[in-house]
Symmetry: C2
Subunit: 313 residues, 2 copies
Amino acid sequence: MPTNAQILLDSRPSAAATLSNFKLVTQETPALQDGQVLVRHHFLSLDPYMRGRMNDAKSYTAPQALGEVMGGWQTYSVVNAATLGALRKVDTTHVPLSYYLGAVGMPGVTAWYGLVHILEAQAGQTVVVSAATGAVGSAFAALAKKRACRVVGIAGGPAKCDYATTELGFDACIDYKQHTDAASLSSALKEVCPDGVDGYFENVGGMVLDAVMLRMNDFGRIALCGMIAGYDGKPLPMNYPALILRSRLKIQGFIVTEHLDVWPQALQELGELVATGKLRPRESVAQGLAAAPEAFLGLLKGQNFGKQIVKLM
Amino acid sequence: MPTNAQILLDSRPSAAATLSNFKLVTQETPALQDGQVLVRHHFLSLDPYMRGRMNDAKSYTAPQALGEVMGGWQTYSVVNAATLGALRKVDTTHVPLSYYLGAVGMPGVTAWYGLVHILEAQAGQTVVVSAATGAVGSAFAALAKKRACRVVGIAGGPAKCDYATTELGFDACIDYKQHTDAASLSSALKEVCPDGVDGYFENVGGMVLDAVMLRMNDFGRIALCGMIAGYDGKPLPMNYPALILRSRLKIQGFIVTEHLDVWPQALQELGELVATGKLRPRESVAQGLAAAPEAFLGLLKGQNFGKQIVKLM
C-alpha cells in the first residue's frame, strides 16, 4: 500500500502562526473497504480561512483538532464512491485542473456570491475588493467587469497593483502599503473612485476597511468575507461605525459553504469566464506537501501572488 | 399679528452641545398670503438626531444653518394649505395629541421599520433595544411583544429598568450604568438572553454595541438607527467587527423618513396599540419654548424619562 504523507496541527499559535505549529508525518494508507476509493491528490489548496481554524476560539467552523491532519493537507484520502459529489469528472480541456481549487472553486464562488447577492452590483456602479490579486479578488474583477461595473482593487505592493490592472481587468488598483493611515488610503481611493463606492468586498479588515467606509456612497453594501489582518489574534476595531448610519450602509458577513444552492450557477459562469480567456489568474505553486506550511504562512503575510496552491504530484 | 418665539442655532458645538449654542428670539409672524395658514404649535418634539444636525459635518441631512431656527423650534409656523399632508385632522379621542410626536409618529415608525424590515423579527426570537425607555424603545417593546418575541431592553439606571419591565412590557432590562466595560455588560446580557440575541435595535453605539454583538446568534440582524453615544464628536469604534463574519451578521443603517411607503401601515398598528392600552409610554414634558434647549441637552445625557417633548401652549 502507498504511503500517505500528512501535515498535522501540532500546536496552536499564541499570536502569529509559525512553522512549529505544524508537523509532517507519514503512515500507510488504510486497507480499503467495499465501495471505497483511494484518491491520490494532485493539488492542495491553501486559503486564509484555515488560519482561523487553528485557534481554539468560537468561529463558524469547529476548530482544527490538535494532532489531527490539517483539513486535506495530505497526499492521499479515502472516499466513499457512493457519496454524492465526492467523485466528479471535471473538464480539463478548457479549465486547468488546479483552477477547480480557485477561480472555478470555492474562492470563485465566494466572489460570485458576495458580488451578486450582497453587493447586488449593477452596471455603472463602482465596486472595490481588497486582497485584489488573490483567488477571490481576481474572480471578483472578472465577474464585475462582465456586469459593466467600475472595479477597483486594493493590494500590497506595486507589482501586484500593476498585475491587477494589466492582467486581471481592474480599472485601478491602490497599493495599501503606500499608506500608513486610513485617511491617506481613503484619499487615494477618492481619486480612483470619483463617483464614490457602491459595493465593497472585504477580505482584510482594519485600516483598509476604515478607508473604504469613508468613501462609501449612501445605501452602499459591504460583504465581509475575511478579516485576514486580524487572524493573528489582535482584534482590529472598525473606527467609524457611525458611517453605517450616516450613509445607511448594509454590512453583511457570509460563508459561501452555507449557500450551496448558488454553486452550480456560479461555477457555470466562472467556468465560462475561464474557458473564454476572461479569467486567467496567476497561481503561486509550492512544490510538495512539505512546502505547504511555509507557503501558508506566506499567504497570511500576502507573499503569494495569485491563488496559493501546493502541487503534490 | 401674534409674536413668534424661535430658538436659533447661534453657534456650533465644539464637543458637547451647550446652552450657549442656542438663542431665543421673537419676531412678528409674517402677513399671510392667499392659501396660507398660520399654525400655532401645541407641542415640540425633541429627538436625538437633532444633535447631529448641529455639526457642520457630512450626515444624512444638511447641517442646521447657523442663525436659523432649529427645525420646528418655534411657537408658530406658516403652512400652505394645499401642501399634501401639511394639515391633517388627528384622532385625539383614542390617542393623546402629543403621542403623534412619539409612539404614533416618527419614533414609533422608526421602531416599526427596524423591527419588521431589518430585524425581521419572528415569534420566539430574542430582540434587544438600547435606550429602551425612550420613544423608540417603548414602541419597539410593544411591537415586539405583539409578535411574540422575547424583548430585552438596555437603559441607564434602576428606575428606567424597573419602568421598562413593569410598564413597557420588556421581559428584562439591563442597567448599562452598572457596567464599565463591554465584557461585563455582555455577561449580564447572557443571563437574560439564554438563547442569544437574534435582532438588535441600536440607538447608542460604543460599549453597548460591543456588548450586544458578543451575544448575537448566527445570522443575527442589527438595525443601526442612532449612535447617541458618539454625537458629541468623539468617534466611537466598534471593537469586534470580526464578529460580523464569524456570526454572519447583517448590520444596516436606516433613516425612517426615507421609507415613507411604510408609514401608513406602521402608524395604523401603533395607533391601535395605543388605543387598546398596549402602548402608553411616559413622556418628559418641558414647559414653554425657552425650556427647549435645556431639555434637549438633558435628552442627550439620558436625563429624560420617556419621550421628550416641550409643551408650548
